[in-house]
C-alpha cells in the first residue's frame, strides 16, 4: 500500500473549511471513487463501526445524491444529501450538502477540485457554511453526534503504522 500524503485541514476564511490531500493515482480514478456508488461506499465511512447501506448518486447538474450511514452494532442511522450544482469531469464538482438532522444552520456548499500531476492527484475539498458558527459547530461535532467513544478507537487504529 502506498501512502500518498497526509491530510491538511485549514480554516482560511470565516465560513470555510478546506481539506487538501494528495493521492497516488490518476485523477479519473479519484473522480470515480467520489461519484460511483459502488466505490464511494467502500471508503466514505467515518469512524470504525459504520457502513453505508444507502448511496445514490445522480451525477448531473440539478441531480441529487443521498447517503445514509448505519452503525453496525446499534443500528443508529445518519443521513445526508444534496444537489449537484456544477460538474466538470474529471476535475470539479460543486454540490450542496445537508444532514437530515442538521446540528448547524443552513446548507453547506462543497467544492471538490482534483489536479493531476505526474500520475498523482491533489484533492482540495472546500466546504463553505452559512456562518462561522455553523462551520465551527461542524468542527466540534466531528461530523456526527452520538459516537464520541468511537474516536478513541479511531485514534488507536490510526496510531498503528499501517492498516488497511
Amino acid at each position: 500500500m502506498t501512502t500518498a500524503g497526509t491530510l491538511k485541514l485549514t480554516t482560511p476564511g470565516e465560513r470555510d473549511l478546506v481539506m487538501t490531500r494528495s493521492f497516488d493515482a490518476p485523477r479519473q480514478l479519484v473522480f470515480d471513487a467520489h461519484t460511483k456508488p459502488a466505490l464511494v461506499r467502500r471508503w466514505l465511512l467515518g469512524p470504525p463501526g459504520w457502513s453505508m447501506p444507502v448511496c445514490e448518486i445522480d451525477l448531473r447538474v440539478g441531480g441529487t445524491y443521498r447517503y445514509v450511514w448505519q452503525h453496525d452494532r446499534d443500528g443508529t442511522k445518519m443521513g445526508m444529501g444534496g444537489v449537484y450544482r456544477e460538474i466538470k469531469m474529471p476535475e470539479r464538482i460543486v454540490n450542496t450538502e445537508k444532514f437530515d438532522e442538521a446540528w448547524y444552520p443552513g446548507e453547506a456548499l462543497g467544492t471538490l477540485v482534483l489536479v493531476e500531476q505526474g500520475g498523482k492527484t491533489t484533492l482540495t475539498y472546500t466546504m463553505r457554511y452559512e456562518s462561522r458558527a455553523a462551520r465551527d459547530a461542524v468542527i466540534k461535532s466531528n461530523m456526527e453526534s452520538g459516537v464520541a467513544a468511537s474516536y478513541d478507537r479511531l485514534a488507536e487504529l490510526l496510531a498503528e503504522p499501517v492498516h488497511q
Binding site: Q28, W43, L45, G46, A133, K140
Partner: protein, 117 residues
C-alpha cells in the same frame, strides 16, 4: 459543546495570515509591539489591532513589564482549537486512507478503471 463563542473567536483570530505569523513569532518567546512590528511591513497601530483580536480570543496576553508591555502566547488556548481540528482531521484521514487502498486496487485493475458501477 460548551462555549461555542470562544471557539468562534479563536478560529476567527487564526484565519488571518498576519495573526498566524505573530503567533509563530510569539511561540519563540515574548515580544513588545515594536519588536513584533519589525518583520512585518505594517505600522505599529496595525499590529496593535491584530494583537487586540488575538488578546480577545485569549491567544495572547500581556506580560508584567509596564514599560515594554510584552505580549506572550497562551499555548493552552491555542491547544483547545487545534484539538478540535485535529480530531476532525483524523476522521477524514481515516476515510482517505481507505480511499488510498481502494485506488491501489483500482490501479491494479487498469486499463478499465471506470467500468464499475
Amino acid at each position: 459543546m460548551q462555549a461555542p463563542h470562544r471557539l468562534d473567536t479563536i478560529f476567527a483570530a487564526l484565519a488571518d495570515p498576519t495573526r498566524r505569523a505573530i503567533l509563530a513569532r510569539l511561540a519563540s518567546g515574548e515580544a513588545s509591539v515594536t519588536e513584533l512590528a519589525g518583520p512585518f511591513a505594517m505600522s505599529q497601530p496595525a499590529i496593535s489591532k491584530h494583537l487586540k483580536v488575538l488578546e480577545r480570543a485569549g491567544l495572547v496576553s500581556r506580560g508584567r513589564d509596564a514599560q515594554r508591555r510584552p505580549r506572550r502566547l497562551e499555548p493552552k488556548r491555542l491547544g483547545e482549537a487545534t484539538k478540535w481540528l485535529e480530531r476532525y482531521r483524523r476522521l477524514w484521514e481515516g476515510n482517505y486512507q481507505r480511499l488510498d487502498a481502494l485506488l491501489d486496487q483500482l490501479k491494479a485493475k487498469e486499463p478499465t478503471p471506470g467500468d464499475r458501477q
